[in-house]
């Protein structure tokens, strides 16, 4: 038990170190840009009419405080950490005065819902079919699946997205072109709204699944083809274990260990949003938010999104590390 505690503490330490370094980089990079959110807001305010210089100075003072840009760099750094600790990223510059945390909080359910579904479907389907294709190498149906996976994989993602949009949006308009739900609906837990979310999410999810499937399929097939020639598979066959059991508990089980790492990494990257998907399908998620934040020079929003994705990726790595000893007994604990 002692060594397990040491292992967990070590991994937790690693997690906090990665988050700390990542957020430092975010702080220093954003403070090195020439964009000054204070001047940006003052310019926007000044457009509505002439204001006295005293009033502008007062405004400047108040805004600097709001954005955490008061005092020396060291003061700013200290304020920055104090605010991050309570998930306060200040108000958004482009949608002033809505707080950044509100904007991100609004976008995250869309992104997480879409990407979680897409990643899990493509992972499960890709690994099952890929594993079967590696084990039953002569099966025609699985060979065909291999051709599809290999054909889809090298196509740039945005081409697949546009092709789907053209087919199901224009040529055979059965699915909506964009958005997260029908415009005139009020979000709520009712059947029509949920149905609308599913039809709107279908194409973006499908595009992600098609691309993700190829990668998981080919990875798993390669892993399994290597494992079936391992001595322990032949040995198990000679010990009378039947084929289904060998496939499940010798071949797939062993091949899944690296695939689970991959799944964890993909899940961690969810918080980055799927920038291209959300742009193409006009999906109201984190990716869209990030792109518009960059365009509008929305300094605090960029900091907010980046910080959350750093924590997301580092957290996923932490979870995999903690699960790994359960998956692979050879991982040294302690």
């Amino acid at each position: 038990m002692q060594s397990i505690n040491v292992y967990i503490v070590k991994r937790l330490g690693q997690f906090f170190l990665v988050v700390f370094i990542g957020i430092n980089i975010v702080f220093f990079v954003t403070h090195a840009t020439p964009i000054d959110p204070v001047e940006h807001s003052i310019m926007a305010a000044a457009m509505f009419g002439s204001t006295s210089p005293e009033a502008i100075n007062m405004l400047r003072e108040a805004l600097a405080d709001l954005y955490g840009l008061k005092g020396s760099l060291w003061d700013q750094y200290w304020t920055f950490w104090k605010r991050i600790a309570v998930a306060d990223f200040g108000p958004s510059v482009s949608s002033f005065p809505t707080p950044v945390s509100t904007l991100i909080g609004r976008a995250i359910p869309w992104t997480v819902g879409l990407l979680l579904t897409a990643v899990i479907i493509s992972w499960v389907v890709g690994n099952i079919l890929g594993g079967l294709a590696g084990y039953y190498r002569e099966n025609r149906l699985l060979k065909a699946a291999g051709v599809v996976a290999m054909g889809l994989h090298p196509i740039p993602y945005y081409i697949i997205a546009f092709v789907l949009l053209i087919i199901f949006g224009y040529l055979w308009p059965v699915l909506p072109l964009g958005g997260g739900y029908q415009r005139n609906m009020t979000p709520g837990w009712n059947l029509p709204f949920i149905g609308s979310v599913i039809t709107h999410g279908f194409l973006p999810a499908l595009s992600l699944v098609l691309v993700g499937f190829g990668a998981w399929f080919m990875g798993m097939r390669a892993l399994v083809s290597n494992i079936v020639t391992e001595d322990y598979v032949v040995y198990a066959e000679l010990a009378g274990v039947d084929r289904n059991r060998i496939l499940g508990s010798y071949v797939m089980r062993n091949a899944l260990v690296p695939q689970i790492t991959g799944l964890g990494m993909s899940l961690g990257a969810i918080f980055n949003g799927a920038i291209i998907t959300e742009q193409v399908f006009g999906y109201p998620g984190v990716g869209t938010l990030l792109v518009s934040a960059v365009h509008a020079g929305d300094y605090s929003l960029v900091i907010g999104i980046t910080t959350i994705s750093i924590i997301g990726v580092a957290g996923a790595v932490l979870v995999i590390d903690l699960l790994y000893p359960l998956l692979d007994p050879r991982v040294k604990i302690g």
Binding site: E230, D231, Y232, V234, Y235, A236, E237, L238, A239, G240, V241, D242, S249, Y250, R253, N254, V257, L327, D328, P329, R330
Partner: protein
């Protein structure tokens, strides 16, 4: 008269290589014949260098790789006719393998004792957990281990020698008539090598099992074999009584093989090697 235990007659394994235009045939095993009698429990050794086809031959006898020509019969049954799962299991119960590298033979993610339980469940009448554990323990005791020592352990938690002995124990659970050991000692420490080799001798004498011992190590082959065949490029170049063949090789390859062996310890060489079989006087002088 009952049919022989194992009868390999003119068995060949031919692989076709190359593309459509330049097809080359490559014989991994070419026209091999030998017979193991039912009542003469012996250690039958197949010697050869890497690529000589000895592992392919072992896999043909284990019925993993089908022979392209010739037949292999086990107790009168042609292996090519075994198709149904029940028949396969019946065959596997009587012929059990031991592989070269125990670290590759055991699934690294599975506990070692599970292999013993599985084999006991598939190949013996043990049904309850207690019976299965008793079978496993009995087999482990025959190789100088006990269930308490390996229970719940993963392969990486045991030493190579222990793991190889577990593999031997596993092969014993079904009380087979024939054990096929493919280079069982080449991956274990020299210090444990002799204990495993001696274990084979003991199994032959006490449990009345025939063993096909595949190796490239002349010293252990000389030490334990009753009969041997020497293979080169898929063909048997020499066969017969182990001591005679190794003492008086006639085929140029066997002579070369014999002369390339350096005795590990010149003063004790007679215990392991035949006098004529050790290095030349010059080599011994060089060693001193």
């Amino acid at each position: 008269m009952s049919p022989p235990l194992l009868e390999v007659s003119n068995a060949s394994k031919i692989y076709a290589m190359g593309g459509l235009l330049s097809r080359r045939r490559f014989a991994a095993v070419a026209d091999v014949s030998f017979t193991l009698e039912e009542d003469r429990h012996e250690i039958f050794t197949i010697i050869g260098e890497s690529g000589s086809g000895k592992t392919t031959l072992a896999r043909m006898i284990l019925n993993i790789v089908p022979a392209t020509e010739g037949t292999i019969r086990f107790r009168g049954v042609d292996l090519a006719t075994i198709r149904k799962r029940a028949d396969r299991l019946a065959f596997m119960r009587q012929v059990q393998p031991i592989f070269q590298n125990p670290f590759e033979a055991f699934n690294p993610l599975k506990r070692v004792d599970r292999y013993l339980y599985m084999t006991a469940l598939h190949f013996t009448d043990a049904r309850t957990a207690d019976e299965v554990r008793a079978k496993a323990d009995r087999a482990l005791r025959q190789v100088g281990l006990s269930l308490a020592e390996v229970k719940g352990r993963f392969p990486h938690e045991l030493s190579g020698g222990q793991l190889q002995r577990v593999a031997v124990a596993r092969s014993l659970i079904s009380s087979p008539a024939l054990i096929i050991a493919d280079e069982p000692v080449s991956m274990v420490d020299a210090s444990i090598r002799m204990s495993i080799v001696n274990l084979f001798k003991a199994l032959r004498d006490t449990l009345k099992v025939s063993i096909i011992y595949i190796t490239h190590d002349l010293a252990t082959a000389y030490y334990i074999s009753d009969r041997i065949i020497i293979m080169k490029k898929g063909e048997v170049v020499e066969s017969g009584n182990a001591r005679e063949v190794l003492a008086h090789p006639t085929h140029p390859y066997s002579i070369l093989l014999k002369n390339s062996v350096l005795s590990p310890d010149p003063s004790r060489r007679d215990e392991l090697l035949a006098p004529q079989f050790s290095s030349t006087e010059k080599d011994i002088a060089a060693l001193r």
